[in-house]
Point group: C2
Chain length 388, copies 2
């Protein structure tokens, strides 16, 4: 089994593109990824594609073949949907396809168009990632759900809105050098604390924005990369996926994310690394509290200790293990069906010593991407490593 | 690589269940499949699940973890969507997962709830399987699209509505012994010809009904089956998937389905069999003309010759190669996200000599399932064989 190499990756400008269709956004990302990879598109053998709310936002299902056509590929194209973890889950299927020898070149990506329907309709569309019968009909939306989880965390382990504010400040700071980020704006802890409340204790700066965008990556085998003399030093060496009950009410604990624990354990085992080996990570901070859950599930912190990481400067650019150097979902933006592959792209760029952004984490060798869906009912974790 | 064995399968009653939720339907199918398999649910390691219009019909995305919970599984759960080929595509990912050694037991299934929103809304929801910008906004629905394809076929190769009527008569006849079928009603060629026109040349009996239903199958490795002394004589020995441009206008030919040609070629190659080895098949007859495309793409007939197969009695129960012994989508019903696995279940039952329905095709050893999405922009083909 060959661990897939990341031969090329691309991310569109994240932000508001209400006038651009999903296919237009994905075409930009997919064509650029193929071009960057230096791979003849004729060699691509499959497309795995993440999208979440196309049915509601664009009246468009069956996007797999649509997106293959958009980037000129005549290949089997499969859309995978796991809410905000759609693209991470697509990566997992793409990795499987490379590993079992079915294909030498696989394109994986995702796109989401959200701003065209407006914030209220987008919030309603996002809610279908929760349990309609037992959560949505009772009035739950995602800010409310994560607010419940944050309250539970504070109650169980301690912590405050000010701790969360440090996460927002850090991710806004990180996004300042990410040209694709939706929000490039420095904020202070006071800004975050004083911002309007969305769902107590979460305020405006605890929540990621509504985002349009697309991303794609080209995966290939080590032997294909060697044969074609590709610059593809980064491999996906570990993949993991975990699930949990969809509704919060069906879980024993609101302040832990066992789906992510399981995904991390599987991915680390697959890659034969441990949390201490990881130099940096991109994690799913749809809300600031979600970054805390993520870094605890990834084993970087004990339960109850992740809350202080940003405040202590441990997860900032200059910290021991930077988290969300892209700006995270918080500042980079979160086109939900694309996010998992955008994380993959960021990690690959940061690990690839020849990439301009690699100076953010010099000499790093192991990076991780953590992508979560719903209130972490679906999670994928991927370990990436620089290969000799 | 181990070819997955089908250890158990289940199909709910197909029909109108507007009062039952998708999770309720899937729970019935999934629990019954696990029970029939005689496998401890704790041993299941993944769920692949097909669903198409849950966002529109049930305001519910992210159904993977929801459905895992519904059948008591704590496993990674992935929803795959390829319109009406969603479940066939889920099978393909499940096969991959068994073959590359990632799991010993995988549940694959699908569900669709359609009648609760009424026929007009269901027709509109089905339309998102076509290209919204270039087809749906121009007024296209699927009966219209397949009518165009039928006209093109008649124009290119000959054939008439009466030929199609024989397909409807055959599939209605076949469904009479399928207790799960939505429609158990014998019809005549005259009935089909005299029925109201839906989109000329297609009439009421050329079109499958709107259906609620669910299905599941339990796949396992040969070694697991042996170790646990399971009755699982049927293996999935070949898998293939093909894609095409989503919009009809972007294709060179309206009377051929190259996505299915490619899927068939790959599946046959994978299984090392040819069309002549196939004893019977379940194919995607969402409209009668689609059965013609399918049996030509599967290599059972030359282009232009599939149209006469039913009329000549070659694809009836007593013919040389029976097609759609379940009644097909036409009479069994078509809960779109479930159909691909329902086909798999039918083929497994017919091949398994100990199953009551196996007398339909005595001594058969090779069966095929052909599942198509949209106007055959996505297709999967699976070859199943009785193992010694």
């Amino acid at each position: 089994m060959s661990d897939p190499r990341i031969a090329g990756a691309s991310v569109t400008q994240f932000g508001k593109h209400p006038e651009r269709t999903g296919r237009d956004l994905f075409a930009e990302a997919g064509l650029e990824a193929l071009s960057e990879a230096g791979i003849d598109p004729e060699d691509a053998e499959a497309l795995y594609y993440g999208n979440f709310m196309g049915e509601l936002a664009e009246h468009q299902g069956h996007q797999g073949p649509l997106m293959a056509e958009a980037i000129g590929l005549d290949v089997p194209a499969t859309r995978v949907e796991a809410a905000c973890a759609s693209a991470g889950t697509a990566v997992r299927e793409a990795v499987k396809t490379i590993r079992n020898g079915e294909a030498e070149v696989v394109v994986v990506g995702g796109a989401e168009r959200m701003t065209n329907i407006g914030t209220a309709a987008a919030t309603d569309a996002l809610a279908i990632a929760a349990d309609d019968l037992y959560e949505v009909r009772a009035g739950m939306t995602f800010p409310g759900a994560y607010a419940l989880m944050a309250r539970s965390y504070f109650d169980q382990y301690g912590g405050s809105h000010e701790d969360l504010a440090h996460i927002a400040v850090k991710n806004h700071e990180h996004a300042l050098v990410n040209e694709h980020a939706q929000i490039q704006k420095e904020i202070t802890v006071e800004d975050a604390i004083d911002a309007p409340t969305i769902a107590s204790p979460l305020g405006l700066y605890d929540s990621c924005p509504i985002t349009d965008g697309a991303t794609a990556a080209v995966l290939t085998t080590e032997s294909y990369a060697e044969e074609h003399d590709l610059d593809a030093p980064v491999a996906i060496t570990g993949t993991g996926q975990g699930g949990d009950n969809l509704a919060l009410q069906d879980r024993p604990h609101l302040a832990q994310t066992p789906a992510a624990d399981k995904a991390a354990e599987e991915a680390y085992g697959d890659a034969d690394v441990g949390p201490d080996d990881v130099d940096f990570a991109e994690v799913h901070d749809c809300f600031t509290i979600a970054e805390v859950f993520a870094i605890e599930s990834l084993g970087f912190y004990e339960r109850g200790e992740g809350i202080a990481a940003a405040r202590n400067g441990e997860t900032t650019r200059d910290g021991d293990r930077p988290i969300n150097l892209s700006g995270g979902l918080k500042a980079k933006g979160h086109p939900v069906g694309a996010t998992g592959v955008a994380q993959l792209a960021t990690v690959a760029w940061l690990l690839d010593g020849s990439h301009p952004r690699a100076d953010a984490v010099p000499d790093s060798t192991v990076g991780v991407a953590h992508n979560a869906g719903g209130t972490v009912a679906s999670t994928t974790v991927h370990v990436m490593e620089v290969q000799e």
